[in-house]
């Protein structure tokens, strides 16, 4: 077995192992007559380390041996591999957000009064985590419910300078007659997510 072949075996074994390998573990995959001694193996490892310097992966020595790892430099890109496809917000979430935008400052109880159904804690939390709503204060009634309002991020996201750029009620009422294609898109979305109000993405 040539040195190049030994090196290829070491590279292959380290790549496939999925965990750090000690020198003895690497040596164990060789048959007796082809096995590099510790010194030769160390040289091979040094050479591999040099080969991979500045590349997408690197050979690193850790406590329990050697392993290949994706260079930290590129982890930002690699992590995008595992990005989940974005879900969709439920109808309940959108209605809650719209009511907070138009009627702020507003408590959860007041939203529920208008919607006629309970507003789940998770909806409120999701909107807060998204940075679109915030607690402005608390209404001075028993239970001191939180008063919600929209944020700067909300305006930015929807590309608004201020809230009064939102359409008026009259404009909203006419939405269906003006935006036929808009309605179509909504219906399709509903069909895709099963049913309006069924949480698509909310946790």
């Amino acid at each position: 077995m040539t040195e190049d072949e030994q090196k290829a075996v070491v590279e292959a074994v380290l790549m496939a192992a999925g965990e750090p390998l000690a020198l003895q573990q690497i040596q164990a995959v060789f048959e007796d007559h082809e096995r590099p001694d510790t010194l030769a193996l160390q040289e091979i490892l040094d050479a591999l380390e040099a080969d991979y310097r500045g590349r997408g992966v690197e050979l690193r020595r850790v406590a329990s041996g050697y392993r290949f790892q994706v260079s930290a430099e590129w982890s930002r890109w690699v992590s995008r591999l595992w990005e989940e496809r974005p879900g969709r917000y439920s109808r309940a979430m959108l209605e809650t957000l719209a009511l907070i935008a138009y009627r702020q400052p507003i408590t959860r109880g007041e939203i529920e009064d208008v919607r006629g159904v309970t507003v789940s804690t998770s909806i409120v939390r999701t909107l807060q985590e998204r940075g679109w709503i915030r607690v402005l204060g608390h209404r001075d009634v028993p239970g001191r419910p939180a008063l919600y309002g929209t944020t700067r991020e909300f305006l930015d996201y929807f590309n608004l300078r201020s809230l009064d750029q939102l359409p008026s009620l009259a404009e909203i009422r006419d939405l269906d007659s003006v935006n036929v294609e808009l309605d179509f898109g909504r219906d399709r979305d509903e069909a895709a997510s099963g049913d309006a109000g069924v949480p698509g993405a909310e946790p």
Binding site: L94, Y102, P105, R130, G149
Partner: protein
């Protein structure tokens, strides 16, 4: 040709020994060739092993043919049938459970054999089909896929010949992409909820109110930090006249909704704003540094 030849007899150039001598096929048992002469006791498990080596009657037939180096296109049906039946009998004698397909094949072979022995009418040979044709086709068809399966098995494949590379990739935590929402989507949702609540007919929400409501939120969050905010600080000079009006309306609405309180220690003293229920006494000193 005299018109009375059989199919079998008409076959030219084939050594007669081929079908005349009828050797017993043998099995491989524990790596050793296993001869099975008629008078020898064969342990049932050995035959089980043998039978398991075959994927069915076609496979067994192919084995019998290949083993004797016979041309698949020119099978000595009588002899092969004899060997095949002998096999089946042996299995049955040992009470081995035999798949029904083996028995079906036995009768197919017997039928071909009898057709082969029928005299061929003279002059009709062009239209006549070799009674073996269908069997030969099936055998070849099976053989090519048997070979294809072996070829497939020989391809380098994952986990046996190829391995994925598994470098450490730093936790692989899933980054959850946030859903996108269009403004239209939001507005349609709003329209629907208002419709449901029959609020289009009421006067709860006016277009003008929006800037006021926005300002209400701003004021509320300014005073929510606790303590007092000086009234005048709520009117940024750069907003001009409109800004003053909007803020003033917002303050009135907030007072009306009992969300804030306005406090004045004495006439002409500075007016302070605080969140409703934030019931502390008036500040002795100006506390306004806390805001903004």
């Amino acid at each position: 040709m005299n018109g009375a030849e059989t199919w079998e007899g008409a076959r030219p150039g084939r050594p007669a020994a081929d079908h005349a001598q009828g050797e017993m096929p043998f099995a491989i048992v524990q790596g050793e060739p296993f001869a099975a002469p008629e008078d020898l006791y064969i342990p049932p498990d050995a035959l089980e092993v043998f039978l398991e080596a075959f994927e069915g009657p076609l496979d067994l037939l192919l084995y019998l043919i290949k083993r004797q180096n016979l041309d698949i296109l020119d099978i000595p049906v009588a002899e092969i049938t004899r060997q095949y039946i002998e096999y089946i009998r042996l299995m049955e004698g040992l009470r081995l459970e035999l798949a029904a397909e083996y028995l079906v094949m036995a009768s197919v072979l017997a039928e071909i054999k009898s057709r082969m022995l029928l005299p061929r009418p003279a002059g009709a040979e062009e239209e006549e089909e070799d009674p073996r044709a269908e069997l030969v086709r099936r055998l070849q068809e099976y053989e090519r896929y048997k070979q294809a399966a072996a070829d497939l098995d020989a391809l380098p494949r994952m986990d046996r010949d190829l391995f994925p590379v598994l470098p450490e990739a730093g936790g692989q935590q899933v980054v959850k992409a946030l859903p996108e929402v269009g403004l239209e989507e939001l507005l349609v949702a709003f329209r629907d909820v208002l419709r449901r609540a029959e609020m289009f007919t009421s006067h709860h929400i006016q277009r003008e109110a929006l800037s006021v409501r926005e300002r209400m939120s701003d004021v509320l969050s300014m005073v929510a930090a606790g303590g007092f905010t000086e009234f005048a600080r709520l009117f940024p000079a750069e907003e001009g006249r409109t800004g003053v009006v909007v803020t003033f309306l917002a303050l009135l609405e907030l007072v009306r909704e009992q969300l804030i309180e306005l406090v004045q220690a004495e006439p002409w003293a500075p007016i302070y704003v605080r969140a409703a229920g934030d019931g502390e006494g008036l500040p002795a000193e100006r506390p306004a540094e806390r805001q903004r």
